[in-house]
Amino acid sequence: MARLLVQRVGAFFASLALTFVGLTAITFLISRLTKIDPVLAIVGDKASKAIYDKTYIALGLDKPLIVQYAAYLRKLISGDFGTSVLTSRPVLSDLLHVFPATFELATIATIVGVLIGVPAGVLAAARKDQWPDHVVRVLCLFGYSIPVFWLGLVGLFFFYGKLGWVSGTGRLDIAFDDIVTARTGILLIDSAISGEWEIFRNAFSHLILPAGILAYFSLAYIARMTRSFMIDQLGQEYIIAARIKGRTYWGAVWKHAFPNIMVPLITVIGLSYASLLEGAVLTETVFAWPGLGQYITRALFNSDMNAVLGGTVLVGAVFIGVNLFCDFLYKIFDPRLRST
């Protein structure tokens, strides 16, 4: 059994490495495809041919593509993502600076998504084709059809513009900027630790709309998958056996069917989290939320290729990591696959 575990862990890391290589190969190719000449970006338009050639060789651009890629990969692994044209700082340090804001959004959204989505999915499956099912299915359907950036704008218009229930864009009112010391980078935690309750409330009222919107998409996906899994389980014979043993219908639903979906559900939750990192790109743009997504789009508008690609590699790595890890967890925890 332990040998199987070691095998699986090994396979996981191998997949991770291989996929990371694939991702970086693509970002590398993209960086070579760009219309911006990296040499000109350094020496300027007016440089002589000699200087151009020297810089060309210094940048290693005369070497075969594979060698260049290897150099690129080595730099990435050592943490050198290049320098941002916009901020003049190393891209990696920029990324680490902005990541907590996105992490905050994605984590809160996923937690809400799970707390609402899972019971909703179970309810819909247990009351299949009755009105709770229809309500949940419609909500999920909308969640698959609404553009996230549009919902953000409409939400701002309605809840901020018309009702004034939440704050506008950004993470904090400008007046509160830079007051709280950034320990974790997560404003809610940092302000609570410092006892700055006014800032906490302000941060919360800025957070609630973007997190709520992302939570909706998370919940739509989770509820739909939960419903699907539960319907499969509720059609199984062991549910009938449970009813014969004396379980009520809901007893069979929660104590028999639900434990059987927990493992695939964890995978689903992980995937939802990963996809929220992507959804955050557009949401942060709408809400001027200073996270990873906004960093990438701002870099995009300023043709800061290092920053765009660096951000892509980071998001990609986390995305891939979460995906593969969930696959791995699934294989580990399914009791049917546990023994050799």
């Binding site: 199984q236 062991y238 043993k245 004396g246 009520t248 434990p259 059987n260 009791p335 049917r336």
Partner: protein, 278 residues
Amino acid sequence: MSETLLDVQDLNVAFPSRAGITQAVRHVSFTLGRERLGVVGESGSGKSTMGRALLGLTPKPGIVTARKMSFDGQDLLACSEADWQRLRGRRMSMVMQDPKYSLNPVVRIGHQIDETSRLHLGANAAEAQRRTLAMLEAVQIRDPDRVYNLYPHELSGGMGQRAMIAMMLVAEPDILIADEPTSALDVTVQNDVLRILDDLVRERGMGLIFISHNLTIVSSFCDRILVMYGGKIVEECKATELHHAKHPYTRALIAAAPSLAEAREELATVMRDPAWLT
């Protein structure tokens, strides 16, 4: 003369669908005492549907109607869900075909059997475990303590089915409906399981409805036999008097059963007469 435990008169089960209404069970009537009743039929004959209907487990959108359906004097047609819960497992139980599917894959065997005691007999954990281990011994599982902690996929087919029997008999019901209990098992294991079922039913003086497609097993195991075809009962006789069977379908089934005793050139097949469906 055993008392009548189950009295069924004119039972019908219909499944409405977009293509019309399918009558899965038609005008079925029989009684069951503390005896073994075999129900033989091919797939689609309605035998399993009838079994489920007797426990109120007909899946939606099925509709169950009958002139009378009562167990030990209690009218089953008037049962609420709460009434059914009290009956199922405690007084009327069912063993299903394939333990791969009828046991919960993520719960240990012992806990699954405990559950019956805890729900029906109000036993606490220790008491339930005691009963479970005793029951596992009764179904001749040799190492009950080890098996108690196993998961269903770690059991062989025969053991799984024995665990299923333990699970359904631990609350000591009066009637057991066995729906194809040996059909998913290897032939060598079938006899073991049948023997265990035989002992338990006899010891506890239970009524048994044994549903199967295999006439040979049913005729050797049961006291009386019902033959079903197209949702109806086409023959009812004692097992010992099977060779006197009148309906052509039954005679065809008997003829089709291979026998080591006589030499035959070909195996007989059943020629169906559409008239049997009316």
